[in-house]
């Protein structure tokens, strides 16, 4: 059976986490699309923490006989992995977008400089040549 203290601590941690996430969203420091996975983590932890019978049943299904709260560790570990993967995906997308931005900026800059040079020199040629 899950010790009562474990239930209390786990529930408090889950509630605290949900509170922090909520506050971050409210202050617009965390976007909803990235917060969703954090909210899900908090809710699942809270359910597993409060619902002691459920935790025990789950532990039984997973073949954990000696210490049911191990399920909590397993759940947290799983969510940490999912979160890290999610972050890697986000970073990959950002870095792709960053590359495209840098390329476009550089190409526009070249175009601008060359136009400026062509008109500034009042030259008859469109492409400035040395």
């Amino acid at each position: 059976m899950t010790p009562l203290k474990v239930t209390i601590v786990a529930s408090l941690v889950a509630v605290g986490m949900l509170g922090v996430v909520f506050e971050l969203i409210r202050r617009r420091r965390l976007r909803e699309r990235y917060a969703l996975i954090w909210v899900l983590t908090g809710v699942v932890l809270l359910i597993l923490g409060i619902w002691r019978h459920g935790l025990n049943t789950l532990a039984g299904w997973m073949g954990i006989k000696t210490y049911p709260p191990s399920v909590l560790f397993a759940a947290i570990l799983l969510f940490v992995l999912v979160l890290l993967l999610h972050l890697s995906i986000v970073i990959s997308r950002l870095s792709d977008q960053n590359t495209i931005l840098a390329q476009k900026l550089a190409l526009f800059e070249t175009e601008m400089l060359e136009q400026g040079r062509a008109t500034g020199e009042g030259s008859e040629r469109e492409q400035p040549k040395a």
């Binding site: 590359t99 840098a102 390329q103 550089a106 190409l107 800059e109 070249t110 400035p128 040549k129 040395a130």
Partner: protein
């Protein structure tokens, strides 16, 4: 055609003068050699336009190139060779070029061999031409790991392409409008040469290898050190494996 054409290297077929042609030169800290390479291309064919893509150099690469009056695209920070080369292809696409040749700024590719690389494009035999160091007389020496990797890639890519390819890591390559369209839409990142060949094949563009000679580098150091070779091999192998499961979704027919 597997032998070097027997005509003087300086002669281009007359039909080329109607085509707008661009040399794409990715450069990272090549102030020592880039001026000479630009001069060589100009001496060979004055109407060849040149775009230097400065991939975040800390030296005067951009200034040296700009003083020669070529197009210079200076990236705001280092994006890596793949994104730098792609910038050149985007420049080619935006400005309506018909042919684009990628050529190293360190002087290891001989501009006198441009006709050899452009020939199959002009003849309409290929959309993508690679200057291979391994057809004809061997002129390329390298470390054991690098040669092993290059051989391995050649075997794999040949199998995917159903065509014998000897040099998939060469950076001396030319494309027509279809190739420009494909590369400006999508280009691999870190070590792009091997992957681009597979990409081209999967998009049903025609690939052809022609023999070229490599010269000693005029200045600077190779970007691939011995330590990185193993990482390079594994990274490219993984990328090739994943490429097999990718669909070819870029349409270049109307380019």
């Amino acid at each position: 055609m597997s032998a070097v054409p027997d005509r003087p290297a300086s002669s281009l077929p007359p039909e080329i003068s109607r085509l707008r042609r661009l040399a794409i030169m990715p450069a990272l800290n090549e102030e020592g050699s880039i001026g000479a390479v630009i001069d060589e291309i100009r001496a060979f064919d004055p109407d060849f336009e040149i775009v230097v893509v400065d991939d975040g150099s800390s030296d005067r690469t951009s200034e040296v190139a700009r003083s020669r009056g070529v197009h210079v695209v200076t990236l705001p920070f280092n994006l890596g060779i793949g994104a730098a080369v792609q910038t050149g292809f985007r420049f080619a696409r935006a400005n309506g070029f018909d042919l684009a040749v990628q050529i190293d700024a360190d002087g290891q590719h001989d501009p006198a061999e441009l006709p050899i690389v452009l020939e199959p494009l002009l003849a309409g035999e290929a959309d993508f031409v690679v200057g291979s160091r391994f057809i004809g007389e061997p002129t390329f020496r390298s470390s054991f790991t690098r040669r092993l990797g290059i051989r391995l890639f050649a075997l794999i890519v040949s199998a995917i392409a159903h065509q014998r390819l000897t040099d998939t890591t060469s950076g001396f390559r030319a494309v027509n409008r279809r190739g420009i369209a494909l590369f400006s839409a999508d280009y691999p990142h870190d070590y792009p040469e091997v992957e681009t060949t597979v990409m081209v094949v999967k998009h049903r563009l025609r690939v052809k290898e022609v023999p070229v000679r490599m010269r000693e580098r005029a200045a600077g150091e190779s970007s691939i050190t011995a330590m990185r070779s193993v990482y390079y091999i594994f990274k490219v192998l993984l990328a090739l494996f994943i490429d097999l499961f990718r669909s070819s979704d870029i349409h270049v027919e109307d380019a």
